[in-house]
């Protein structure tokens, strides 16, 4: 398809990206979402809000994050040049904090003293607990009891930061169930509570709002790439769980028709094994968590359990804007398996001296595959969404070790 929009201004007023997105929630949440959409519309362009966000990015998060030329790895591959956008260098070690700062600032202005969040790997939980501590808010993080077992060190970090981690025992006891539980909390405590969603999913305005806060990633790249290589990249590659780090780097690049956008989903043990989290590559459209998007579901419309070595990609849905970018062919979506991600993880450690998050390692795996077959003058920019410290136990276990 080549009917790319010349100007891109999605979503519409009710949060639609073509047939995707929207507001599919029970009546108890409708008013809260209206209130949020109004507050966000008011503050997103408010000079004082914008200035404070910029200041927080500079002094608390450590922005702008640098771009780094992965010279040795590119050399070994013998093809295109690979560059990393270093979101791993942000405070708390991932892109997640770009969004939690923004939403917490909004919560303060809306007079909500309590924030809640869902988390899978614990990265978004940590980023939320961090800003709650920073602004003196009370914080409850919902986390599936399975994930609590798998991510003990992040649970401890959240507690250190003063958050309450609330185990979720329903459904598959993972990220999607934590999101369900956070929604239920919000419906019950809507008067004093702000729900900080961790990715570009959920009902409108979340997919748009989270994208906007994360778009700082791509905006910086557009400034930095010409300084680094004299032009914009040929490819921008990012891993896709819910899709926030990918939307953050993709969105500012949408109007650049020569820049190819590639999202990389988790193929787990292989798409054909059924044990994966590749909603765009292997799912079908449906309605979950307040929006219409691609989902992993059975023929009866029940959401099925997903698998990925990286807890942060282990989600059966995907942000609705990615669904639209896929259908309109402005972005393409590929996948990398657990073993491909692990191999990229180890290669990155040894050749570049950077320990990447397992989530980001999926993007690295695809970038390496792509680079090999491209000429040396092509440029691939990978969003290195986080660092891998949190993944030590998982990686060690794969090598038969305990840390």
């Amino acid at each position: 398809m080549n009917d790319r929009p010349a100007t891109y201004d999605l979503p519409d007023a009710r949060g639609h990206f073509g047939p995707y997105g929207g507001i599919f929630v029970a009546e108890t949440l409708v008013h809260a979402l209206d209130e949020l959409a109004m507050a966000y519309a008011r503050y997103r362009t408010d000079p004082e809000f914008v200035a404070e966000l910029k200041d927080e990015f500079a002094h608390f998060v450590g922005r702008p994050s640098p771009i780094y030329h992965a010279r040795r790895w590119s050399e070994v591959l013998g093809g295109a040049q690979i560059y990393f956008k270093r979101e791993d260098l942000n405070h708390t070690g991932a892109h997640k904090i770009n969004n939690t700062i923004g939403q917490a600032m909004l919560a303060r202005r809306m007079g909500k003293p309590r924030v809640i969040a869902e988390t899978g790997a614990g990265q978004h939980g940590v980023a939320t607990a961090t800003v709650a501590a920073r602004y003196g808010m009370s914080c409850v993080v919902y986390m599936g009891s399975e994930d609590i077992k798998r991510q003990a060190s992040n649970v401890y970090r959240m507690k250190l930061l003063g958050a309450t981690v609330s185990p979720v025992e329903s459904g598959s006891r993972t990220l999607k169930d934590a999101l369900n539980e956070a929604m239920r909390d919000w419906a019950t405590n809507v008067a004093d509570t702000f729900y900080i969603i961790g990715t570009v999913a959920g009902p409108h305005p979340y997919p748009m709002m989270v994208r906007d806060f994360q778009a700082i990633i791509g905006q910086e790249c557009i400034e930095q790439m010409p300084q680094m290589v004299g032009r914009q990249p040929d490819y921008v590659v990012a891993c896709v769980g819910g899709g926030s780090n990918a939307m953050g780097i993709f969105h500012p690049y949408i109007p650049f028709p020569d820049v190819q956008l590639v999202g990389v989903e988790a193929a787990g043990e292989g798409i054909d094994t059924g044990r994966h989290s590749a909603s765009l590559s292997a799912g079908t459209p449906g309605v979950l968590h307040g929006n219409r998007t691609y989902l992993l579901q059975n023929s009866d419309g029940q959401i099925i359990e997903t698998h990925s070595i990286s807890a942060g990609l282990d989600y059966p849905g995907v942000g609705p804007e990615h669904a639209w970018l896929k259908d309109s062919a402005r972005a393409s979506y590929e996948s990398a398996t657990d073993s491909e991600a692990l191999e990229a993880f180890h290669t990155c450690c040894r050749l570049e001296g950077i320990i990447p998050a397992l989530e980001s390692s999926h993007a690295l795996a695809y970038a390496a595959r792509l680079a090999r077959d491209l000429p040396r003058d092509k440029v691939i920019l990978v969003n290195l969404s986080g660092r891998g410290d949190k993944d030590m136990p998982t990686v060690a276990e794969r090598s038969g070790m305990v840390v």
Binding site: V25, A26, E27, T28, V30, T188, V287, D300, G301, Q302
Partner: protein, 270 residues
């Protein structure tokens, strides 16, 4: 006139209020569900809300979540719920049946196909918890064209503009959720409920049922002094949970008490 409207007409003439129990299909198993439905009718239910199991029931509290999980473990889905209604209709053509569930199983079956199958099975109304009016204009039209009622929820947080919008699309009855939160929560504040019902009635003459927080004869009676119907869900599931082998008998027993308490109300025709 739809079966739901007929039920409310008949009740109005008899100066009684509607008793609307909810049960999740497939809990403890689909065979028992049929027995439970008939037991509810014998105990005085006027309209039955049958819950369609969904893996991610965002608007439900722990009790109904657990019922849904048990049903899913039994492999019960939308297709089975429709055959349950067909079986029920073999011996009952009076009691109105409403399916209550979430959008995704419907979309997976295909909206048009689902609506036709529901009408054919003998379903009278639909509640799709996560289809708010903005997202369901087309769906609402198709539901109406098939002769079914589309029932919407209103909540304490619903604004006047919102109530007006919902009132325009709703048919059958309006389901007023008596408190912010999920099913199974909290207790009733009658004065607060009344003030909201008054606003709703400014915009519509269709009956208004109240649910969330009704747990016994006393609360049902209290609600029926101000509303057209009492909707009871979590409390019924608790009866099923307490003794799955005798679920139908227990639910029947519980509802009979509620019915008796409701009928003790002296109603005045509006």
């Amino acid at each position: 006139m739809s079966r739901i409207s007929t039920v409310f007409e008949r009740l109005r003439a008899a100066e009684r209020k509607a008793l609307i129990p909810y049960v999740t299909a497939g809990d403890p198993d689909i065979g028992s569900s049929l027995d439970i439905l008939h037991a509810m009718v014998s105990s005085g239910a006027d309209i039955l809300e049958i819950g369609v199991p969904f893996s991610d029931p965002i608007a439900d509290g722990p009790v109904i979540q657990r019922a849904g999980e048990r049903a899913l473990k039994n492999g019960v889905g939308l297709v089975d719920v429709l055959s349950l209604v067909r079986s029920f209709r073999l011996t009952n053509s009076e009691t109105a049946v409403v399916l209550m569930g979430y959008a995704n199983p419907i979309e997976a079956m295909g909206r048009e196909r689902f609506i036709a199958a529901a009408a054919q099975a003998g379903v009278d109304g639909l509640i799709v918890v996560d289809y708010p009016p903005e997202e369901s204009a087309e769906f609402a039209a198709a539901v109406r064209a098939a002769g079914l009622d589309l029932i919407f929820l209103l909540a304490p947080t619903s604004t006047r503009a919102r109530i007006e919008q919902v009132a325009r699309l709703a048919s059958g009855y309006i389901y007023y959720v008596s408190l912010a939160g999920v099913t199974g929560a909290g207790h009733l504040d009658l004065a607060d409920v009344l003030s909201h019902l008054e606003v709703i009635r400014e915009f519509t003459t269709i009956p208004v049922g109240v649910g969330f927080g009704i747990r016994d004869g006393a609360t049902a009676r209290a609600i029926c002094s101000i509303a057209d119907a009492a909707i009871i869900g979590s409390r019924i599931i608790q009866e099923v949970e307490a003794d799955p082998a005798h679920a139908a008998a227990r639910v029947g027993h519980f509802l009979a008490d509620v019915r008796a308490a409701m009928d003790a109300v002296v109603t005045t025709a509006p």
